[in-house]
Symmetry: C2
């Protein structure tokens, strides 16, 4: 009886992310967890209607389930959404603002891992590391005959790298690439104070002046397909695109077409428009590195992320400011 009362005192949270036993165990020390058994088959508002929706004041989510107006509307006392992702495009932020729901994300927890991965993809595409690995494993190295020569890659030093967006992640990427002797420029809505990299207010001009374009801005209605036909054409034949932001930042059909036609030189892609679906025509290309949306996670970061998410939920229930709040406008 004592234990049940103790349990009742814990605040209730709605858990809308893939199962993760260690996280759920840690959460359960401080919260009661309501978890739809099969969010993909039963619509969540329908599930909630049978589970005292008025008692739910917070959601813990990730990028996998959209936190849309029907879900938000079905929870009359919702006050807080905490997402374990850095990206926010799965959350209806306008509806959150309208309802006065505060939102927290992963803040900078992933920035370092994503930046490392972006640089890894960049080196891989320029220096042909994955392609070289494939070449050796196929047994072609040292074999004599047509098509058995493995072409050289391209040098990093002196390459002009244009960053699309200059937030936490891009700043970490820039710091790393400076050590390789790359020349950094960026595009963002506004020039960043105290930043020495060249600023391009126009992304097409940035592309024209860059050997490598790294796409690292958040996905919003304004940035969807920000890398389109015009930008790819401005970038040019020997240049490469690295996308570690979100798939829909790039017009994927156009990118695939440019790669096939040799209109751009290569690509390193961790994200895709319709994950886990990847354009099949990229599978046979030697100048492309494909990655299963893995830039943002290492086991070492998970613990930091979970600690942060729980601290955000605790702050909300204690009436304190969130640790990593996001603007809902």
């Amino acid at each position: 009886m004592g234990e049940a009362k103790e349990e009742e005192k814990k605040p209730l949270i709605l858990y809308l992310r893939p199962p993760h036993p260690p996280l759920e165990q840690t959460l359960s020390l401080k919260f009661q967890i309501l978890k739809p058994t099969s969010p993909t088959t039963t619509p969540i508002p329908q599930f909630l209607s049978t589970h005292h929706p008025s008692s739910i004041r917070a959601i813990l989510c990730s990028g996998y389930i959209p936190i849309d107006a029907p879900i938000i509307t079905s929870l009359p006392n919702l006050g807080c959404v905490v997402t374990t992702s850095a990206g926010l495009n799965h959350i209806d932020l306008a509806e959150c603002r309208r309802r006065g729901v505060v939102v927290a994300n992963a803040g900078g927890v992933f920035s370092v891992d994503v930046a490392d991965y972006a640089v890894g993809l960049l080196i891989d595409v320029l220096r042909r590391i994955s392609a070289g690995d494939r070449y050796v494993r196929s047994g072609r190295w040292g074999r004599k005959g047509r098509g058995e020569y493995f072409p050289l890659g391209s040098k990093l030093r002196g390459k002009k790298v244009g960053l699309v967006g200059l937030g936490n992640i891009s700043s970490e990427i820039a710091k790393r690439l400076e050590a390789f002797g790359c020349i950094i420029s960026y595009n963002s809505r506004r020039r960043k104070p105290g930043v020495s990299y060249s600023y391009y207010p126009n992304i097409c001009d940035l592309a024209s002046d860059s050997d490598v374009l790294v796409v690292a801005c958040p996905l919003t209605d304004e940035t969807r397909h920000i890398i389109n036909e015009d930008i790819l054409s401005a970038l040019g034949k020997d240049s490469i695109v690295i996308n570690i932001g979100r798939g829909a930042l790039v017009d994927e059909k156009e990118l695939a077409w440019c790669l096939i036609q040799g209109e751009i030189g290569g690509a390193g892609l961790d994200v895709f428009e319709n994950e886990p679906s990847v354009p099949k025509e990229l599978f046979l290309m030697e100048n492309v590195v494909l990655s299963p949306h893995h830039a943002d996670y290492t086991p070492e970061s998970f613990q930091d992320l979970f600690d942060l998410s729980i601290a955000n939920l605790e702050a909300f229930f204690a009436g304190q400011p969130l640790l990593t709040p996001v603007k809902c406008d």
Copy 2:
């Protein structure tokens, strides 16, 4: 007739490296070139015996043909060997010293490219980039079933990286890895003055204290198999080996065995003991990145290298000091 005389005035060099039309064309502006048509079928001393060996004072070579005592002995007036490689293990330096032959190598021309590649291999093995590319191309991403989950890689920040050797290349590697938040230590024969990284006089101690061992020292009789069973065992189960030096620096059989047994965590290998032969048991391993000895070349570096090699030959024939001399002891 005038042209023939002009040609005769040019110094004669023996060209013992793979064919390279642009290099040979540039060389021919300043030198007469003697080039065995088929160095692999006719022994070079035999070829030389029919080509006025006493008129040859300089050799231009690379790592592909050994410049051994029989060749050096067959050239009574040899005074200089210029190699387009950074490594010197193909040249009998003791014989050169005995004969008073000066030797020049590629100096630091490759350092930057090799360092970039080493970091690329390191990120690839830790963050599983090539493995992820293979996973996506195989169509397994998003497919449900056993073995379809793609495991996370490991974080770079905070990793302890031990450098075996601290010459030009390792120093460039260290500079880059510091930007990723790695902690750098090194082993070399002597502590380097003015270097802040932790120095380990004993390579086994370095391995014990490292998560990643980067092998980047020259191959000599002393360093052959410097990475042996003891070192790999000290390195331990979660650690990785990156080799961008020479294949024989590592006991390759032992390394393959340790990888298969899970005694070490992974490897990124650009060089092998019997290139282009690679131990077949590595071809199916997911924690290994294999590369066809490509770390040291980019097209952008070739021009620098050729300019340097020609400048070394010109210095020799002008009686000037070489630009990138190497010690023959």
